[in-house]
Amino acid sequence: MANAYARRSALQHFGLTAAAAKGDVAGADLLIGEAAHRTIVNIRGDGGDAFKAAVRSVTGAELPVTPNTTAAAGDFRILWLGPTEWWVVSANVDSAKLADDLRQAFNGQHAAVIDVSESRTVINVSGPSARDVLARGCSLDLHPRVFGPGQCAQTGLTKANILLDQVSDNPSYDIYILKSFADYLWQWFWLVGRDFKFAIRAH
């Protein structure tokens, strides 16, 4: 893991903290912000009982085996990526420690643990207009009757590949994006956000 003093967020050069201070957060119907430096650990395995038990022992959450669903407990959130692949994400648990804990819990199993925290950043989009903004670049139906909290999806947003995770029914979405695409995606939000009352929120 990179040392804290050496870390730069992928969107740091936009000066988001200063921009957030100037924004009209209370009057906005669309809030965007970067939740940088999230811990993301990729786990692979058969999703069987032993695998589930190991994940439960570390995170306290039940492994979501239904496609495109999430589970949350305490500091952790587990996102379904594929039938044999999940992400364990956390806003405040150290990624090296989480990866070590998981690796120990999987001891003896046919499983893989990879710390991928540094590959992505998270752009959070929330507010009453969040769905309308995402609809401009995402082909998924995000209407509450088909997509709500507890669901995630890997899909495309404009030209970028994203993982979309609805974290609340405000609605609020966490968008996991490769760091190298974060600049592009942020500028896209900046562009389409001008059609809405949007403000930048500090995270």
Binding site: P67, N68, G82, P83, S139, A153, Q154, T155, G156
Partner: protein
């Protein structure tokens, strides 16, 4: 734009998928390989059905769950007749 039902994720836009190749091409067993002629190898490696009608093919949900699966697609109408998981046999279909 095709709407393809991933066996895991459900209906998604075509742009989330990538086409692989014709499905159900069995690799010759080790025993067969000992006695195969060059013509038979060439047939296995290069010759494809290219039908005008229902074609069994492999697709991957590359922007989604990254799983490979089989699609029976009509090459003229683009109608997707059936989507089924890897390892399942080709479905018997009525002639259209």
């Amino acid at each position: 734009m095709l709407l393809i039902s991933c066996p895991y994720c459900g209906p998604r836009d075509e742009h989330e998928f990538a086409y692989g190749h014709e499905a159900h091409i069995a690799r010759p067993t080790l025993e067969q390989q000992q006695t195969m002629s060059d013509a038979e190898w060439a047939d296995y490696l290069f010759m494809r059905k290219n039908p005008k009608g229902v074609h069994f093919e492999r697709w991957v949900h590359s922007r989604g769950c990254r799983q490979w699966f089989n699609v029976a697609r009509h090459t003229v109408t683009h109608e997707i007749v059936k989507v089924y998981k890897m390892g399942e046999p080709a479905p018997k279909l009525e002639q259209k």
